[in-house]
């Protein structure tokens, strides 16, 4: 959770004012971890180690880490098909994530879920989702539990710009608003749902404008600026914890890679991709930390090397894991075996 607000005349960026050095260093490490995780996942896919497709979030790391920075383990998130970053930002172990990719019994879902269903309930991650918009009503249910059971937890509901045109989005926002539930609807607007741009799919120029229809605050921030993401989400979680209801935070960002492994990038230009790659959120945050004396250049390089080590160890753990047994095909369909 963010630390108490500093003096008013302090004009350093929000994230530097609100978080201590350990939290900030941890945030940078997590951004490196996500980037390295995605690159290693892609490489594993190329080498035929991953069955099925995957959706990479390279370029969007500041959204996941900024949104989860102020959350505690009892706070919940619901995630999407592009969920590796959310999972790591909420504290997941990359070894068990890789193990899931490789379909191993040691994976988060014992090899039953794969990339699109990784969840970590112990850390408050209720799961990625293969259905666009599928997590939105579930997040509202999680917030309803928090309110009724008085846990004080908030739920951050990640969804894409494409999901904001699903009926589930509108039903979920409306219910969260009428019941004043502690949810933050976190739109990762990366400009496209597969090939379809928001200009072609969405009647309003900003997803955040839709918040007005559900009488909740809606803000749009630079999703490649981790400080702006954290500031908007922390304000929204504070509002939720105070019993004032849900908020919508739209983070403008960009996915560097194709939608999934089948994408040939026919709907966007090389120039557009390169322009966004020049706005890489990771060096931007690293430069901020160096400028404010939180880390030295050497420490930044050390953090990157540390992330690489963790990823390497994770891959090793994953490769060593056992495959599930075919005899267990129908295990866990039900909690107790059918009579």
């Amino acid at each position: 959770m963010p630390e108490p607000a500093a003096a008013a005349e302090d004009n350093r960026p929000y994230i530097i004012r609100a978080y201590g050095p350990d939290a900030l260093r941890g945030a940078l490490l997590r951004m490196f971890l996500i980037r390295n995780f995605e690159e290693a996942a892609e490489a594993s896919y190329m080498r035929g180690l991953v069955h099925g497709t995957m959706h990479l979030s390279i370029g969007q790391e500041a959204v996941a880490v900024g949104a989860c920075l102020g959350l505690t383990e009892s706070d919940k998130i619901t995630s999407t098909h592009r969920g590796h970053g959310h999972c790591i930002a909420k504290g997941a172990d990359v070894g068990r994530m890789f193990a899931e990719f490789f379909g191993k019994e040691t994976g988060y879902c014992r090899g039953r879920g794969g990339s699109m269903h990784i969840a970590d309930p112990a850390k408050g991650n209720l799961g990625a989702n293969g259905i666009v918009g599928g997590g939105l009503p579930i997040a509202v249910g999680s917030a309803l539990s928090a309110k009724r059971l008085g846990t004080g937890a908030v739920t951050v509901c990640f969804f894409g710009d494409g999901a904001n045109n699903e009926g589930a989005f509108h039903e979920a926002l409306n219910m969260a608003a009428i019941w004043k539930l502690p949810v933050v609807f976190l739109c990762e607007n990366n400009r496209y749902g597969m090939s379809t741009s928001t200009e072609r799919s969405t009647a309003v120029p900003r997803v955040a404008l839709r918040a007005a229809a559900y009488a909740m605050p809606g803000v749009t921030v630079d999703g490649n600026d981790i400080s702006a993401v954290a500031e908007a989400v922390d304000a929204a979680t504070a509002r939720g914890r105070a019993g004032e209801g849900p908020s919508l935070v739209e983070c403008l960002t960009y996915r560097w890679r194709g939608h999934s492994k089948s994408d040939r990038n026919r709907y966007r230009s090389r120039e557009e991709i390169e322009a966004w790659m020049a706005r890489d959120p990771i060096p931007r945050f690293a430069a901020l930390l160096v400028a404010h004396g939180i880390m030295s250049e050497d420490e930044v390089r050390a953090a990157e090397a540390e992330a690489e080590r963790v990823i390497e160890a994770g891959l090793e753990f994953a490769r060593a894991g056992p495959d599930p047994s075919v005899a267990d095909l129908t295990r866990d369909v039900y909690t107790t075996e059918a009579p």
Binding site: Y108, G127, P137, G141, S142, S145, M175, D332, T335
Partner: protein, 335 residues
Amino acid sequence: MTTAGGGVRELSYAEALREAMDIALASDPRVILMGEDIGVYGGAFQVTGDLVHRYGEDRVIDTPISELGGAGVAIGAAMTGLRPIYEFQFSDFATLAMEQIVNQAAKIRYMLGGAVSVPVVMRFPAGSGTGAAAQHSQSLEAWFGHVPGLKVVQPSTPADAKGLLLAALEDPDPVLIFEHKLLYKMKGPVPEGHYTVPIGKAAIRRPGRDLCIVAGAIMVHRALEAAEALSAEGIEAEVIDLRSIRPIDRDTILDAVRRTGRLICVYEGVKTLGIGAEISAMVAESDAFDFLDAPIIRLGGAEAPIPYNPELEKAAVPQVPDIVAAARALAGGRL
């Protein structure tokens, strides 16, 4: 049936369901009810009745007309510590919530390798006979019976309605209860206090030696009426009440086929690819097949939407004379 003891009174099916919810709300603070107009209105079929006055709007929650979202909220709440009972105003509206029921509730536990359970209960007023026509009269239970991860029950008596609802609440997985609308006012003996009826166990409602009729929900009552008429003609029909279609009570059904050698499946859902097809195949694949003395007969819903006109509506689903005629044809060779 596990009983807490106490007396037995006559209650309607709707009252029995309400009593089950009352017991659950009183004994378990995690239980909440959700649905459209289930508060002061009392529910479209007056099943929740006055519960909102006793447990308040925070626990008997009127939802907006948002079946997909409402079902999803119940599922998310079930994953995070509550025990929601979500009422669909009509089972037909489950079509708007298929995503959350089929892709989410049914699969979350499995997809997550057993890391969480989804203890949600959903109630569906189902079936024809009310003149509400094609979009308010369907029997869709077999659709859900096709989905691993769900449990689907279909109580035919007030006592079972209460006991199965209480069993559903104790079950750690999603349980869907299909309640036939024509049964809501039907009265029957209901034990007091808390008890459960096991999910997955059929009940023999009437023993018989000549043939067996396997039915669910309202069709159990039509089968019993038919059996009474048949008895007068010297044909003794056994009537089995399925109660649960997933899991289905294979043992009770196959045993009855072995004893009687003749089988009629009666169900209100559309005949083709329905519950009767499953039961017939189950018999054909087992040793009970060798005991059959005649072909199996399926009596199911017509290959048409439920029509409005009362005569057409009656003709669209099996009625007592249909069952009697089928039984006579089946028993004809032997008696």
